[in-house]
């Protein structure tokens, strides 16, 4: 039962995105959407790519997806770099302040993003930082840090201390130990943390919609702005196709990285 509830909306929408509006929103008979009665009447085929053409070419959705790629890529890279260094330090320092930093990160994690955004807007306008992709990337990295730190911290705790301690005894500095001993064994944890930074950057609406100018918008805020303009022009299928297009990368992500996602979700939990 749950499986049906979980997956049916997706199948329905993907299927419907290849139809015309009259079928996808069919008042007369819901079976229209399956057989595509109106789609055949209007375009002559059972499936139509009109929605996709309209969204990607006419509305320039391709440039938004390009922006998404840039933002997501750099956010993931930067937050992983900062996160591994920080998480390693937190896992190996035995002092009291490490605990406090983790607690502080938890509080930061709980901050609603929109409250932070309302803090950024005014200074960013003043300093002319508003609207650019790099600004958004930095902001997303920072918002991501608390979670990345927690996850990598608990991951590094699982790597036996003896590994890097033996390197220290052999005369390595901490940085050398990190570089030669830890980096080669840390990839499973880093990939998991990377997946979650990816999801945060990709799924974010609050930050990207408030901090990016119209030309620089990523996919999600673009879809939101579709809703306003497209409804008036009766091109709701553009929005449906855009939504489906934005969904597909996520679909593959789950397909290929299911194990890492599950282990990441449970990693935080087991530590309590």
């Amino acid at each position: 039962m749950w499986l049906v509830i979980a997956v049916f909306p997706f199948i329905w929408t993907v299927w419907g995105s290849f139809k015309v509006e009259g079928d996808f929103f069919s008042k007369a008979d819901w079976r229209y959407a399956i057989y595509g009665v109106r789609t055949i009447a209007e375009t002559g085929e059972v499936f139509t790519g009109n929605g996709y053409y309209g969204a990607w070419i006419q509305e320039g959705f391709w440039s938004n997806s390009l922006n998404t790629v840039i933002v997501v890529f750099f956010t993931v890279i930067i937050s992983l770099t900062l996160g591994t260094l920080g998480g390693y330090a937190l896992a190996r320092s035995g002092y009291r302040y490490a605990f406090w930093l983790l607690m502080l990160a938890l509080v930061f994690r709980a901050m609603p993003h929109i409250t932070l955004v309302s803090g950024y807007l005014l200074p960013f306008f003043q300093w002319n930082l508003w609207g650019h992709l790099p600004t958004t990337i930095i902001v997303l990295v920072a918002i991501n840090q608390p979670f990345t730190l927690w996850m990598l911290h608990s991951f590094f705790l699982n790597i036996p201390k003896e590994l890097d301690e033996s390197a220290l005894i052999d005369g390595c500095t901490w940085f050398q130990a990190f570089k030669h001993i830890i980096i080669p064994v840390m990839w499973p944890g880093v990939i998991t943390a990377g997946l979650f930074s990816f999801l945060l950057a990709y799924n974010d609406f609050t930050v990207t919609s408030m901090l990016l100018s119209r030309e620089n918008q990523t996919m999600v805020p673009k879809i939101a702005s579709f809703l306003g303009t497209v409804r008036e022009q009766g091109n709701i299928m553009f929005a449906v196709s855009a939504v489906v297009s934005a969904m597909i990368p996520l679909f593959f992500l789950v397909l290929f990285f299911q194990r890492q996602l599950v282990s990441g979700l449970t990693a935080g939990a087991v530590k309590g």
């Binding site: 749950w2 499986l3 979980a6 909306p9 329905w12 996808f24 929103f25 008042k27 819901w30 959407a33 770099t81 996160g83 260094l85 920080g86 330090a89 320092s93 035995g94 002092y95 490490a98 930093l101 990160a105 938890l106 994690r109 709980a110 901050m111 609603p112 993003h113 929109i114 409250t115 955004v117 309302s118 803090g119 950024y120 807007l121 005014l122 920072a142 918002i143 840090q145 940085f175 990190f178 799924n203 609406f205 609050t206 408030m210 879809i223 939101a224 709701i236 449906v240 939504v243 969904m247 996520l250 992500l253 789950v254 299911q258 996602l261 599950v262 979700l265 935080g268 939990a269 309590g272």
Partner: protein, 342 residues
């Protein structure tokens, strides 16, 4: 690890958090005490061949200059907090005196934007979170009983609602429950009411958003609890069934107590995430019927007139709300930490 090395390692990460999380919070606090400049009015004399008329007009230049000199606006003290759009002390007091019953008073409170948003946010948080736990546990138990070769695919399917962008997920459901969409028209058929629309009434909109919330968050609880189920000691379960415990009794007395830490963890995450509910309101275009604290901040900042002061005041109150929610957890870990020390 020596302090010095620790600093080197943690500095980049810490710096980014301080600059972009801690400093903005302070900036929000400062902003909340200021309010936008009033428009500068000047008297202009418009003369036509017959007579001269004096009129007031907005001096754009002086306004722009003022904004440049003091971008924060003018100092307003705590007035933003107490005005009609936020805590609305005057209106609440008035409503309290005029109302004949508590219900009446409640209805009046709901007309004030801040209380309306607060009420929805709290309702959403405290209905969605327990349901997510219960459904998550039920599904975890269900999937655990499935044969091995269907477990993988069913986990894959279950992950989808959680992984998908919240805005996109809510749009997908929104199109389905549209009066012309599949669920909407089916409901109309069932209730035999052609004008039935989930979007038109306030209770139904709330129900819709809550259903979306449960749909979106249940996978998280499911995955965590499912992983927890794998660690339940089999011996205890067998011993219990030898002693004649039914399936339900085994769940109640063995499985659930074993997973208490996980349940606390999920509750904590759910409270944090549900409290900032925002995207579904945009996705469902539900802002006329249901607003959340995050939404009213967004609304202040969105569009041409950016009400920084007002948004900042709402932000501060939202942050205070988060703090209150988190307090039990912080106290608990503080106690644990002290126990570890002694």
């Amino acid at each position: 690890m020596p302090h010095r090395t620790f600093i080197y390692f943690i500095l980049p990460s810490l710096l980014s958090m301080i600059l972009l999380i801690a400093v903005p919070v302070f900036s929000v606090i400062v902003q909340s005490f200021f309010v936008e400049h009033e428009q500068v009015l000047i008297e202009v004399e418009n003369c036509n061949p017959f007579k001269c008329v004096k009129s007031l007009s907005v001096d754009q230049q002086a306004g722009a200059k003022l904004r440049q000199e003091a971008p924060l606006g003018r100092f307003n003290g705590i007035n933003t907090y107490t005005n009609r759009n936020h805590l609305a002390f005057d209106e609440v007091a008035l409503a309290w005196m005029e109302s004949k019953s508590l219900v009446d008073f409640g209805a009046k409170l709901l007309n004030l934007p801040f209380y309306k948003a607060l009420l929805f946010t709290l309702t959403y948080t405290f209905i969605v979170s327990p349901f997510v736990l219960i459904f998550g546990l039920a599904i975890a138990l269900g999937v655990n009983g499935l044969p091995k070769f269907v477990k993988g695919p069913s986990i894959f399917v279950s992950l989808l609602p959680m992984i998908v962008t919240p805005l996109i997920g809510s749009l997908i459901l929104f199109w389905m429950i549209d009066a012309k969409g599949i669920l909407g028209s089916t409901l109309q058929l069932i209730f035999d009411d052609n004008n039935l629309s989930l979007k038109a009434s306030m209770p139904l909109t709330w129900v819709m958003l809550i259903v979306y919330g449960i749909w979106h968050s249940t996978p998280f609880a499911f995955i965590v609890l499912y992983a927890g189920l794998q660690t339940v000691p089999q011996e205890t379960l067998e011993a219990a069934s030898i002693d004649g415990a039914t399936r339900w009794e085994r769940i109640r007395h063995v499985t659930v107590p074993h997973m208490v830490p996980l349940i606390i963890f999920i509750t904590l995450m759910q409270l944090m995430d549900n409290f900032r509910v925002f995207e579904p309101i945009v996705g469902f275009s539900a802002s006329a019927k249901a607003t959340s604290l995050s939404w009213i901040i967004f609304n202040d900042l969105h569009g041409d007139s950016k009400l920084f002061g007002s948004a900042a005041a709402s932000s501060i109150m939202t942050i205070i709300g988060v703090m209150i929610l988190l307090m039990p957890v912080l106290i608990r870990s503080w106690k644990n930490f002290n126990i570890k020390l002694h």
